[in-house]
């Protein structure tokens, strides 16, 4: 998916008054931007590289992130919308994505896969799959609730936090989803018996 290229600077800057001069090419604003957010990017990159045993690559990946941000006249940064997300959240997602790409590139380059730590290979499962849920049976949110509770072993409180809803709503959704699934599979069983 591509990022919007032309945006109003105010949409990009949001609460960060430095982003407008930065996009206009002000070197001092760039320096401040780097000083302010390098820690956010570094932390996100490092967290992703540590399990793969590639923490030594963190500095290079952080540099890649800043290169991506400023190349093509800040094309990536111009796609940021302060009304949609906080700059720290957006930078964390961008940095995480750069670290994952880095690990994928490493994996492709590696001739002897057996010599790599298992965790590197685990970054991107070889076979990615999706769950086939009968269309219209569960709402996306109900399915996500069940996935978080039963596959991710979360409490209603934890699941609620991930989705950004009330724990009581999680309980209610869980109940309604089970009613639907029960009815669906019972009907399926009856059809098989007939």
């Amino acid at each position: 998916m591509s990022f919007a290229v032309t945006v109003e600077s105010s949409r990009v800057s949001g609460g960060d008054s430095d982003l407008e001069p930065l996009l206009a090419g002000d070197k001092a604003a760039w320096d401040r931007f780097v000083a302010r957010y390098a820690g956010v990017i570094f932390a996100a990159v490092r967290r992703r590289l540590v399990p793969a045993g590639r923490v030594a690559d963190a500095e290079d990946v952080v540099q890649d992130v800043f290169v991506k941000i400023c190349q093509n006249d800040f094309r990536l940064l111009r796609g940021y919308d302060a009304a949609r997300a906080r700059i720290t959240t957006w930078l964390t997602v961008v940095a995480n994505s750069a670290a994952v790409d880095h690990l994928r590139r490493l994996r492709r380059r590696t001739e002897d896969i057996e010599a790599q730590p298992e965790s590197v290979l685990a970054v991107d499962p070889v076979v990615r799959e999706e769950v086939k849920i009968p269309a219209g049976m569960l709402s996306p949110r109900q399915a996500l609730v069940l996935e978080l509770l039963y596959q991710r072993d979360m409490t209603p409180g934890e699941a609620a936090e991930v989705i950004g809803i009330d724990p009581q709503t999680v309980r209610s959704m869980h109940h309604k989803a089970l009613v639907k699934l029960r009815a669906h599979f019972q009907a399926e069983m009856r059809e098989e018996e007939d």
Partner: protein
């Protein structure tokens, strides 16, 4: 069993049964960074959130990604090595300070001596250099003429030494 656990054996079995229908992932592109960030910040519109949640429920790898991002955000920033900051700051070269014009833009003086004449400055400098070179060349030629040591002398009778004339008579 943990406190506040609402899971049941039946629920686990039903969800397991639902998840049994695995199929290869469609060739969907990863959600863009801003969409994930907006979801993490709880700022997605209802329909956008529903679309993303449908993907999260059906794509374990994408859900894994989202949970990792949540952990990363909760952990917060870390102090980066100074070299990281210096290197990144060096990506942008220092440019001449931007002039802050008023809301109406540059004044007529600024337009005349600033913007309008700015391209002419380099042309004038080049012309001045050309004139200076030409002047230097001409000056050199003039001075060379002044220092010329070859002189032509027309010899007349008056210039012949007397003793030489006398020797012809003798």
């Amino acid at each position: 069993m943990r406190e506040d656990d609402i899971r049941t054996k039946e629920g686990a079995a039903l969800w397991r049964q639902t998840r049994q229908g695995w199929s290869p992932l469609r060739d969907d592109e990863a959600p863009e960074a801003l969409l994930l960030a907006a979801y993490l910040d709880g700022r997605l519109a209802e329909d956008e959130a529903a679309r993303l949640e449908a993907r999260l429920a059906g794509e374990p790898a994408l859900l894994e990604e989202l949970l990792a991002l949540r952990e990363s955000l909760a952990a917060g920033a870390e102090a980066p090595p100074a070299a990281v900051v210096t290197r990144a700051q060096g990506l942008r070269r220092r440019t001449p300070a931007l002039r802050a014009f008023g809301a109406d833009g540059p004044s007529w003086r600024e337009r005349l001596f600033g913007f309008s004449l700015r391209p002419a400055v380099s042309a004038l400098a080049g012309l001045a250099l050309l004139v200076a070179c030409a002047g230097a060349f001409e000056l050199g030629r003039y001075q060379a003429g002044q220092l010329d040591t070859t002189q032509t002398v027309e010899a007349g009778d008056s210039d012949v030494p007397v003793d030489l004339l006398m020797s012809g008579l003798l």
